[in-house]
Amino acid sequence: MKAKHQRLTLIVIALVALVAAGLLAAWALRNQASYFYLPEQMRAAPPAVGQAVRLGGMVAPGSLKTMADGVTIAFTVTGKGDAAVPVRYSGIVPDLFKEGSGVVAEGSLQADGSFRADNLLAKHDENYVPRELEGMTQAQAAEVAEKTTVGLR
């Protein structure tokens, strides 16, 4: 075996071991490194009441209400299945915050199972659609959207 073949074999073995170690470490971090709880995760393994956590999911269509004081809003965050967490928030919402789109709420779980948010972040999905599509007929827009939309995981 030539010296350079020996070096190549050695490096390839070292690389395979390194990649395996890295992937195992990342896999172990799977739940710890998540940026937020999904509603179903919050239901299955709720964090302590009052602990600062984040909740992420979709703002359920039709659930957004403004309270009598005019600055507090209430809405439901849904995930996969029927898991849903009611959220309350007082303050300014980001531009992209609306019903049917993604949201990450920073705050804490309350004793009654609702979520008190101190801050809202809007989550953008992976779809980029020009505004022109809005002027299209439903069928045209659906066709374009179908061509450009990946399946939701």
Binding site: A33, S101, L121, H124, Y128, P130, E132, R153
Partner: protein, 246 residues
């Protein structure tokens, strides 16, 4: 393969390839940005802020692509001992760090109006920041090795080790819940409308050529530096020996 390892042949090739990369790259970037900034219609949700896509995404891709190329060069240096491969890795490191920093900066500017925050510590943003720090560490290590005159083996090993971060960046939005959205472009599928996709790809091609041009220019500078140093050393030796021979 060995043909390109010859510095003389590399220099003749690089001499006309460098301006070609810069010229063509500038042309493509100018075209893509003109179309991306002024022609394409705004996004239905994000509005005008979508235009930063044509900078942010090429910067991020090239930041990651840069380290991949650096790792391949490091591998080539470790296995085949090509001195040019070590120079290529050193040449890639600085533009790689700059493009990574630019992707972090443009991403931050984009995040404020879209998400409502400049920065969050989610998987994607954090792993990208780690990539920037890896570049900084590599630059320091490679320069120290060059200055001390020791082999470039240690920076090369570091370049290979750091490559583990690349698949982590790529998968960070799939493995972990993150504020950054999942990939828009996956195997043969795109969630980006064609109107945005064309300037995005042209812009990426243009910035890639600029990146390549910077790498070639830096490699030529590094070779020139080595040659100048060698010449100085020879002169100093001649000077030392002259009184004895005379």
């Amino acid at each position: 393969m060995h043909g390109f390892a010859n510095p003389t042949r590399f220099l003749t090739l690089a001499r006309w390839l460098t301006p070609l990369c810069f010229g063509l790259g500038l042309l493509l970037v100018a075209g893509a940005l003109a179309s991306g900034l002024f022609v394409v219609s705004p996004d239905q949700l994000m509005g005008e802020t979508v235009r930063i896509l044509f900078l942010h995404v090429p910067f991020a891709w090239l930041g990651m692509g840069g380290w991949s190329a650096l790792a391949v060069s490091s591998l080539a240096f470790l296995v085949w001992r090509h001195p040019l491969a070590a120079l290529a890795a050193r040449g890639i490191a600085v533009p790689g760090a700059v493009f990574t920093a630019l992707s972090l900066i443009t991403g931050s500017i984009w995040g404020r109006p879209t998400w409502g925050t400049w920065w969050v510590w989610d998987g994607r943003l954090t792993s990208m920041l780690v990539l920037f720090f890896l570049y900084c560490a590599y630059i320091a290590l490679a320069q120290a090795a060059a200055r001390e005159g020791v082999s470039a083996r240690i920076p090369a090993i570091f370049g290979l080790l750091g490559a583990i971060n690349i698949p982590i960046i790529n998968r960070s939005v799939v493995w972990w819940n993150s504020l950054h959205q999942p990939p828009s472009i996956t195997m043969g599928q795109s969630a980006i409308a064609a109107e945005f996709l064309v300037p995005l790809f042209v812009s990426t091609a243009g910035f890639s050529l600029l990146f390549g041009g910077i790498v070639l220019a830096r490699m030529r500078a590094l070779i020139a530096e080595t040659q100048a140093e060698a010449r100085l050393r020879r002169k100093a030796q001649d000077f030392d020996t002259e009184p004895e021979t005379a």
